[in-house]
Structure formats: structure tokens, C-alpha cells
Amino acid sequence: MSPDPGASEALIRLFHVHKRYAAKQALSDLTLEIRENEFVFITGPSGAGKTTLLKLLYLGETLSAGQVIIDGMNLARISRNRIPQLRRQFGIIFQDYKLIASKTVYENIALVLEAAGEKPRWLQKKVNSVLRAVGMEDRNASYPPSLSGGEQQRVAVARAIVGQPKIIVADEPTGSLDEESAGVIMTLLKKFHSTGGTLLVATHDMELIRRNDARVIHLDRGRLQPAPPL
């Protein structure tokens, strides 16, 4: 799926973005736009800058130069107290799940809504609803370490979608899963996309890209490159 210039407004804009870590240039002069309700794969070899690019979007990292604009918010000028508001526009999925081990599945998901100040009576309904959607309602009282990788990633997807974000960024969401679990995760993510959400998936799994009709942004050594043939 390539971007249609006549379609909706750009939700994410990057202008000449540079990111430098102490000894390494992670991203160089990156300019791109992602429209609302786009499904985008960010691909490239290890160290290409996929994770860095995703992190810049939700201010998991700060820019070295350039501008990132998310839904009209210029991240170079955003004040510290508006960062939580920015992050609530995102659902973030990590390869290592990043679930809180001391909280139950239910509590991990509820945390997103509590942080957003959701009323308790709605909170319970919404959490139970996403738990049903990812097929984990019977594990709501379990703690993450007692779940399999696939189950933990389903909880992570539930946590990402429960706050009804505009954008989901998923960093290698299927990287450590078996084929069946990976299929379940991708089905859940595509369901989010089909309901109007914008989906950004960083992966180096070409098979996954081949199986899904999505725009591909290819990075190599921190620079945009033409996508290789699938």
C-alpha cells in the first residue's frame, strides 16, 4: 500500500531528522510523511535505525537535529509536561514486551487508563473488552512471568490498544514468537488498522512484509533507501 497524496492529512512528518549517539550517527537527514490510517513497515538490517526512528516519534529519544511533527505537535518544542499527552496518542509494543512483572495482566492493561484518568466504572469494561479481543480474559489475574512469549505479546497488544491511540508503533513484535503466535499478533494489529488506526511495524522479517499489503520504508545505516524487491 503506497501513500496516496490525495488521501488524508499527514499524521507524522519528519524533516531532515538527524539522531546521533555519542559515537554513532543513528539517523541521517530523514524526511518522510506518514498519513492517518496508513500501515507502514519500517525495515532494514540490524543497526539500520528502525528502533531509533520509532523512539523519536514518542520521545523515547530526543532529536539531534531536524523536526518531528505528530498530529500538529512539534516535538522539538514540546514542553516536558505535554509529553504524557503525546504518548497517549501512541500504543507502543516492544519485542521484549515490557510488561510490569509485579502487576497482573489486568493491572498492566488498566495502568494505561488509570494514567489517562479514566473513570473506574469504564476502566473495568474497557480492560475486559480488550482482554476478550486478544483472547486473554481467562488469564487476567496471572502475572506476566507465568505467561508464554506469545501470551505476553498479546497482553502487550491489549495494553497498546486499550487507550484507543491514533498510532501503534510495534518494534519487532513477532521477532521472538513462533509462527502461530506471530500470526495472532499480526491479526490483532491489522484489526487495529482496519478500525482507522495508523500502524508502524519495525521488522527485518521479509516474509512478514510479503504477506501483508503495506507501505515499506527501508533504512540502511540511518538513511532512507529504496525498498528492496519483495
Binding site: Y58, G60, N81, I83, P84, Q85, R87, R88, F90, I92, K98, L99, I100, S102, L111, V112, E114, A115, A116, P120, R159, G163
Partner: protein
């Protein structure tokens, strides 16, 4: 309510660190409370002693009545004077006879009354301090027809000085306990925070504000302060019961009743204790969230 629940959950999952903090606060409160209890009771004792202070003004022999009346009026008009009573040499001897019932025969042999006429002065309520009494005594000594001024319990001045020194030390130590307790709470909160660094990072990524992250820690600090304060005050109560029984059976304090801290002091100490808990969390979080 959500934050309070989260605070209770956190306390449950970090029982040991929280128990350590509570014990630290309880110890600080116990020590501070013991000092307060000591000062309150010593103050009571000193006030009771001061109430009993009399100043005796001895007069020249054979002072005409008109002059004596004038002198009495002058003394009565002094600010520090509450009541002036004339005690004639005969009345004084009579008193002495009553006080020395068993050795009365010694006084029977006296050919003349050796005691002078005198005024017995009780100081006004405003002049019960050792300084005020000393000043009054030197004023009285300058008066014409006065031969000597005597006020018992001169030692009260010295005792009062020692007491003031103790009190200043007590305030200083109280302040030190407060600061030490705040830092200990801050450090245990820091340990909890370090053990939850990853969790806090995840909370931030899902859109939690610093306020949302801080709130349960503030509640935790307040709860630790309240529990520590109650524990410290309870221990103080037990010590008080034990000490009061010992004092009542003893003889040094005489008629003075030992009392526990008044309700207002208990409430103030409990408030301070909660403040210690909150302040410890506040200082630690301010630093930690800036760094994180």
C-alpha cells in the same frame, strides 16, 4: 482513591523496606516525644515551685507605723508584687514556735525577740521568672528602712538556667531527629524507586504523568509517617506508664503529678511524623524523576 490503593499495594509488595522506614520514624518520634514529655513535666514542676516563692523584706527595728504603712504601699505599687503582708516580730516568733514544736524549749530561754518586723511578698503572676524575682529583690534592697531582702530557692535561678539549656538542646535534637528521619525516608524511598526503575519507565511510556507516578509515593510517605508516629507514641505511652508508676512510688517529686503529653501535642507530633514521611518521599522523587 486509585492512588491510595496503589500506595497500599506498593507497601504490601515492599514490606521490608516499608517496615524499616516505619521503624525509623517510630524511633525518631519516640525520642522526640520522650524529650517533650520530660520538658512538659519539668515545666509543670518548676511552675509549681515558682508559685510557692515568697520574698521576705526585713525592716529596721522600731520603725514607726506611719513609715511602715507608707513603705507597704510603695511595695504594693510595684509591678512584680502580687500581695504584701506585714508580719510583726511577735508573729514571726510565734510562727517559729509552731514550726519548732519539739525544740520549743530553746526559744523559751530567749529574753528578747531576735526577729525583726518584716513584709512577706508574693510575686504577681507575671513575675515568676528567676530574673524578675532577682530584679524585684534588688529594687526592694534599695528602699529606705529595709535591712535585708531574702528570697528562698535562689537555686531556682540556676535550675532555670540549666532547664533552658536542656530545652534548647531538646529543640536542637528534635530538629536533628526530624532531618535525620526525612533523609532516612528519602533513602528508603530511593531504594524502592531504584527497584522499580523499569516499572516507572514503562509507566512513562504509556503516558503516565510525573504527578501520577508521584501520588502513590506521597500517600506511602504519609501512611509511613502516620504508622511510625502512632507506633512511636504508643511506645512512649508504655514508657510513660512505667515511669509515672516509678515516680509516684518515689519521693523526689513530691506532690507533682507526672502527666502524658496533652492531646494538642500528640496531634502535632503525629502531624510532624506524617510531614516527615511526605517530605522524605517528596525530596527523593523530585531528584529521581529529574534524573530518570
Amino acid at each position: 482513591m486509585v492512588h491510595f490503593k496503589r500506595a497500599l499495594q506498593d507497601i504490601r509488595s515492599h514490606r521490608f523496606l516499608n517496615a524499616l522506614t516505619v521503624l525509623t520514624i517510630a524511633t525518631a518520634i519516640l525520642l522526640f516525644g520522650a524529650f517533650s514529655l520530660f520538658f512538659i513535666n519539668i515545666s509543670d514542676l518548676m511552675n509549681a515551685w515558682k508559685q510557692g516563692i515568697r520574698v521576705m523584706v526585713y525592716l529596721q527595728p522600731d520603725l514607726p507605723e506611719s513609715k511602715r504603712t507608707q513603705l507597704q504601699q510603695r511595695i504594693a505599687s510595684m509591678n512584680a508584687v502580687g500581695e504584701v503582708r506585714f508580719i510583726s516580730a511577735e508573729q514571726a516568733l510565734q510562727r517559729l514556735r509552731e514550726q519548732m514544736k519539739r525544740q520549743r524549749s530553746l526559744l523559751d530561754d530567749l529574753k528578747t525577740n531576735p526577729l525583726p518586723d518584716a513584709f512577706e511578698i508574693r510575686t504577681s503572676d507575671a513575675a515568676r521568672s528567676a530574673k524578675a524575682i532577682e530584679a524585684l529583690a534588688s529594687d526592694l534592697e534599695t528602699l529606705e528602712s529595709v535591712t535585708e531582702v531574702e528570697y528562698g530557692q535562689k537555686w531556682l535561678g540556676r535550675f532555670s538556667g540549666i532547664f533552658q539549656l536542656f530545652r534548647a538542646t531538646g529543640y536542637g535534637l528534635g530538629g536533628l531527629f526530624f532531618v535525620a528521619a526525612v533523609f532516612i525516608v528519602a533513602n528508603t524511598t530511593r531504594l524502592v524507586l531504584y527497584s522499580r526503575q523499569e516499572e516507572i519507565g514503562i509507566m512513562r511510556l504509556v503516558g503516565a504523568t510525573d504527578g501520577f507516578i508521584r501520588a502513590p509515593f506521597y500517600f506511602q510517605g504519609l501512611i509511613q509517617g502516620a504508622v511510625g508516629g502512632l507506633l512511636g507514641l504508643s511506645a512512649l505511652w508504655v514508657l510513660y506508664i512505667f515511669a509515672a508508676t516509678q515516680v509516684r512510688h518515689g519521693f523526689t517529686v513530691g506532690a507533682i503529678d507526672v502527666r502524658f503529653l496533652p492531646l494538642s501535642a500528640v496531634v502535632a507530633i503525629l502531624g510532624c511524623s506524617m510531614l516527615v514521611g511526605w517530605l522524605g518521599s517528596f525530596l527523593c522523587l523530585r531528584q529521581f524523576l529529574k534524573e530518570a
